[in-house]
Assembly symmetry: D4
Homo-oligomer: 248 residues x 8
């Protein structure tokens, strides 16, 4: 999987610096760390450019805190998503410089040297209730060093609120459009700009929204070009992807 790595091993074998048996073992020892309940993938950063992020939902505060520590042993920064206050407190106890974004439900630790935020990502929401998902996207994107512009409550039922902000939209390298209910915001946005639009359906609404299904289907069926969709309420995923695109 890793041509250079294999090549170097083979060179060492050829030089006699390494026994074949040992080389085989090395090939198997790609750097992941096996805790009882999780395999931390320290190699992932090298392989995919993605540092390991902790999805805290479904883990105990203690488990999350302990994974945080392991990650920080190898990385200068770490992030936990879907984290409640109890998780934050468990992390804080071990890692005093941890920071909590309550609306976004994200914990971050960042010990790397501060760098200028890059490019421009616009994160827009249809309504007020969509903000927690949007903040998950925004904090994620900022964690990865992107410049983020928030444009909240610009849903299509009052279209001039969006149209009055077209200048902000036009400057963006990538736009994250977050909406529940009918989820029409990404379609209208994508019709106004020439950059990629990441559509995030939210579970906001009631009745025939079926937990976000309505907004999801709306976004998948958009007749505007340049849109793609992530899972319902997936703020992290959209923020991460926006960062990837913004940094190219």
């Amino acid at each position: 999987m890793d041509e250079a790595f294999i090549k170097k091993l083979l060179d060492h074998v050829k030089n006699g610096e390494l026994q074949p048996e040992e080389a085989v073992k090395q090939l198997k020892k790609l750097p992941y760390e096996d805790m009882e309940y999780v395999k931390i993938d320290h190699h992932r950063k090298l392989r995919t450019g993605k540092g390991e992020v902790i999805y805290c939902a479904g883990k105990t505060p203690e488990q999350s805190a302990s994974i945080f520590e392991k990650l920080l042993a190898y990385n200068g920064k770490a992030m936990g998503t879907r984290a409640d206050m109890a998780t934050y407190q468990a992390v804080k106890e071990r890692i005093p410089d941890a920071r909590y974004y309550e609306t976004a439900r994200i914990i971050t630790v960042d010990r790397e040297e501060k760098q200028d935020a890059i490019g421009k990502i616009v994160i827009a929401t249809g309504g007020t209730s969509d903000i927690p998902v949007a903040e998950e996207a925004a904090v994620t994107a900022e964690f990865y060093g992107n410049h983020v512009v928030r444009l909240y409550d610009v849903g299509v039922a009052g279209i001039h609120r969006l149209l009055m902000n077209t200048d902000k939209l036009e400057d963006a390298n990538v736009i994250v459009a977050v909406a529940g209910m009918e989820g029409a915001l990404p379609s209208v946005v994508a019709g106004l700009v020439d950059c990629p639009v990441i559509a995030v359906p939210t579970s906001i609404g009631y009745g025939a929204n079926f937990g976000g299904l309505s907004a999801l289907l709306t976004m998948l069926n958009s007749c505007a070009s340049g849109i793609s969709v992530v899972n319902i309420d997936n703020g992290f995923g959209s923020g991460f992807l926006a960062s990837m695109i913004n940094k190219r």
Copy 2:
């Protein structure tokens, strides 16, 4: 159910003009006509103001043609929806002044005195492929004597096409907004006007549109006010309802 009718009967009974037994029979003989395969409801026009309309799908051309004849024996006009060319030809043979609207798949006969079209109904579509459903709505509304303005292919992915026509929208008494795919048109329209918007989802699209389900859910979950929804591809229903509202 019909107070005046019962009252008159009772007066006749009181006057001795009618025997009680006979009155009971009369009460049962409300005017519908029992053909072998359909009960034509001539009374409906009196009761609900709606002349009987023939839903031709699932009937043979002969059945449809024969119902047309019966209706015209009592009414000056009749209409058949979801009618294919074969049905039209069967009707035409018996009723030479029948007229066929091919895109709308509607047959009409109208022998009543021409009257000025009333008020203004705007019928808008998101795309070109939605036009057959929109025409079913438009021809229906015109059949009932309404003035109809067509505004086709003004979908939200190119929002300025819609915005450039806001004057037409603002003049309307009621708007029928027809859209498939993501179905966002009615939301945007309802945010621009102060009249009722009838949303018609169409089955246009593919993949995750699930036969019109996506547009249907979008419209039901609209966060704009003043919107209500009819069945997928239900052009007739929307045109009929628009006529009801326009004529008030």
Copy 3:
């Protein structure tokens, strides 16, 4: 979007009263008010005839109360839907003349001069459990100055309860028919009258009602004419739309 507004600006520019640069700025400053978490659309009333209504679900009591205040700075009346008791108390503290409709879960403030209620809207329910949704519709319609007649618990399984009230139905300009479970009420009602029927499915029921889906599908597939449908449990939407139609 607003021809008169643009025209006036241009006249001022022509007169030299306004610099072009300033005009551009003005064109962008359409009157909405940007609070941290919501963009209040004061312009909407002019544009669509709809005053801003607060959807309190998913907002904190404090947020809702503070939006109420902002709205009342521009309008003589305001309304909050899906409001629980805690929200009411937060509003009450700032706005002592706020009124709470517990069954309807609505808060209203109305400082405008009292006017005679207009026309007639009938609001019918299939059962007792549908009443909260019906009250949301009724209070909304009354808030907008309509005369409302309530006709509750007249479901189709005991059809004579409905038939004995046909006189009330026949007087209506528009009928809101609210039903859960099999949701057949609107079909029967629409067969008896010649005015628009707004069908409101509710989530009342169990098992295969799938949270209101059964009633929703029933209403969308009605073979009666003159029916349109709003979202499951959407009392506000139906009341608002009924008001629009009644006031024409």
Copy 4:
């Protein structure tokens, strides 16, 4: 499963008339007939009072015809459902007294002595398009010797057509109510009578009827008592069950 049969076997064993080994074999030879592609269950009539009926869909005309022959070797009557014209012709060739009901898509052969039809089953439909399913029920019920009254096109959107026939409904031992689209007929019928109502949803309709799902859910969620439901378009099942109840 069959106490008397086992008892007789055991008596024979006791008498020495039957060897135990032979008795075991006998116990296994319950009377069904193994053709290559079907196991005809001649025993079923004894066991459940139900003669074997052939579901012709998915069988070749030749297969259906050949099963007809086998059945008639043991029974005085046989019936095939979902049979097209080609199947009828294949059956007719071998069994000249076979009869075809085209609308019901049923083939029957009946060589038993004619007996007076029993009791009264009313079969009602909401519309004209539901008649084929209703006829499948009616022909089935008549095949099993029941007196059937047809009451077609009495859907709830024109409720007086149904109410004018309440006398027919009140005489019934059991009612089969067949309806597509919104499927509300059984609810209203069950509110008028004190006999069991078998609800048959049909696939008639379009758009959000989702192939009969809408009518099915309506019927399952009926708030009237005394209703039960069979599969979409299952005319045979409803006719058979109605016969069972009528004959008690």
Copy 5:
């Protein structure tokens, strides 16, 4: 709707004993009682043979208790379903002879003279967890004077438990088969008997049972004859219908 009633009125009118205007009023005063939140249908018993039953879910204990009182003013017996302990206590306070069936969640009051239980209804369940729904059916059937035989935990995965009880099944006039999970019990039962089988899907199970949908679909698609289906967990409906059939 009620020929005799109308006839008598008309006779009185003819005799001059009644003024026509008064007769019209009478025609409208069919006996239902309009409480604030419910229309009690005292006439239903005459019309459909069904005394009013209270569905307590979604009503306050006070509402339920007060309807109980009203019903008992006209009837010798009354029943409330889906009743929790709090409702029972509220009823008990006003009506000391009320009785509570905890597993079935039913409250009954029965002041009529005790009569011999009629015929035989067998109520079978697939598993232990289905018993509450089965008890709702059983208590309902017993309330209406039927003889009920319980046969619990005889699901198809241990088929001999069912087969060992075929004698009980064969004696029944009607069988209620209650099952969750795969819901196959009714199919096997119906293959063994010649009486109607009422299938009751339950919400018991997890994962892909989707709240009872799996059992519901299984039952609707049964290839056995003589089966019909009621809503998920609808014990009352199945017990009531079984009583109707058993009493014929």
Copy 6:
């Protein structure tokens, strides 16, 4: 159903050791034990090789404990699944050697002589949150005497974690692959090995996972060969089936 058993009975009858009437009774008394709320199937072990296992969800702690006692009267071991702590305590009180596996939510009692674990079952999970379901499978398999290897958190998004463990996979007789979210693990595993793979979808995830539906569909549609699927979160079923296959 049980040839040997019938044969022996018949021999006894033939020998005059048993009266026919008595033999009939015996045939009916297959060994199941009828408690009020459950029929314990002691015969099942003989018939299917499966000892009765208690599904504790939906039973009271007392019911579960009491069934445990009954089972242990006939068997040397017993197991309860979906058991919470309260159930364990009720069992523990009566059966002091009961053992509780908290993550797996399983109670076991095992008084049989310890035997060597057989063969090799690998149980793999996609993520950390899938472990409870995997443990239900693992403890079940171990209860039945199988050798189990756990391989947790090897999901496809970091494929090298799986590839580095192919040696473990290749040694297995059968693999249980447990995954939520996109559920792709079984497909990749099955492409690497030549033994059966039992796929267990979990409900882990959010939004469009629809309670495990996404993983379920993924696994059913796998284009790899040798995969079959059990219900969502069905750890027990997969462990039991793996044991069956491993022991062949």
Copy 7:
């Protein structure tokens, strides 16, 4: 992935027999063959014990025939599933010893030495219409050298047809149970035996079977142990898996 292979390469590198650069290339040249439209995985047989099978649906007859040729260059046998007559003819032209199983829609070529069929797989169906899917399973299992016993049309609605064949079931190493409609066969079968049961839902049925969904859900929710499920109509997958288990 292939330790021995890597080891040998490294030995050669160490011996100087292979240059590191060349070794890297070798590591990349695992044996698959890249045709324009498909990558034939000759290595799979070594890796997973599975020879490549051609899924002919969605490929042109020419494409399928040409893949057949390629496979036969490396293997002694090959199989194509979902093959229509046209595909068979195209294959036959190039490979005269190809054989077509019409009901199963399978093409096979087998040039390996005939060996005795192993063990016993029973393949059962609920009805006649399920036979094509069952035959796909049977022919597949036979192709891989297994002994197959067919037991068709033994559905649960006539349970004695199944019970009379329990001896056949009890001899099996693994059972494939194929059923459409209510799909209850696998549950009953698994309750009678102690071997794995592979459940195959079919799309046979109509109405609420929703293309096989009903049978699929039934099987997934079975309360019998030892069952797992494959995709709707997936005869091949079940036959292949049965072979895997039977051969252990």
Copy 8:
């Protein structure tokens, strides 16, 4: 919406070169062209950088051909998707330099000067049957001037086919991963690279794939980062979006 445009108009008004009335008209005449059945949006290219593309499905060959002509009057290139052979022939007649990509079902005309293809987009498929969708993506991306690398038939069930091509994946700026059935390809790909992955579910498969729903859900629930999803079979959308990202 277009600040510079408005600014210029205002300057002209100020200069007296333009009357205010005329300016208002100008503001409304944004450049779209109103054909009878479509509004061609020539302005879109300026606004969003997207030339108008024709979605030919649901349009007659004549309509498509005529839109092609209009587009080419304003643009140097045009493209039609979902085009069958008949549409191509109609276009070809009017535009001889039109080119048809049969597998991709795309018609292109390109009269612009040829430029070097930019960057690198990898388009991968799980299987052979997914190629038409992949080609729609590939031809689209090439039409917009991107360098495309095709990597077909590398599905996860034979994971080494993908792993052997990781070098190609690692070079990409953006990857389009196309897969039907279980749709797991994008998850595995995204775990190997650090660029955005656009996931395209296809409708390839059968049974429980529900027309592509299975693959769609898989992709939405991916636990890998950097993935977003487009509609089922939406090759064009993915190709267009990939071009947008690649060109940044």
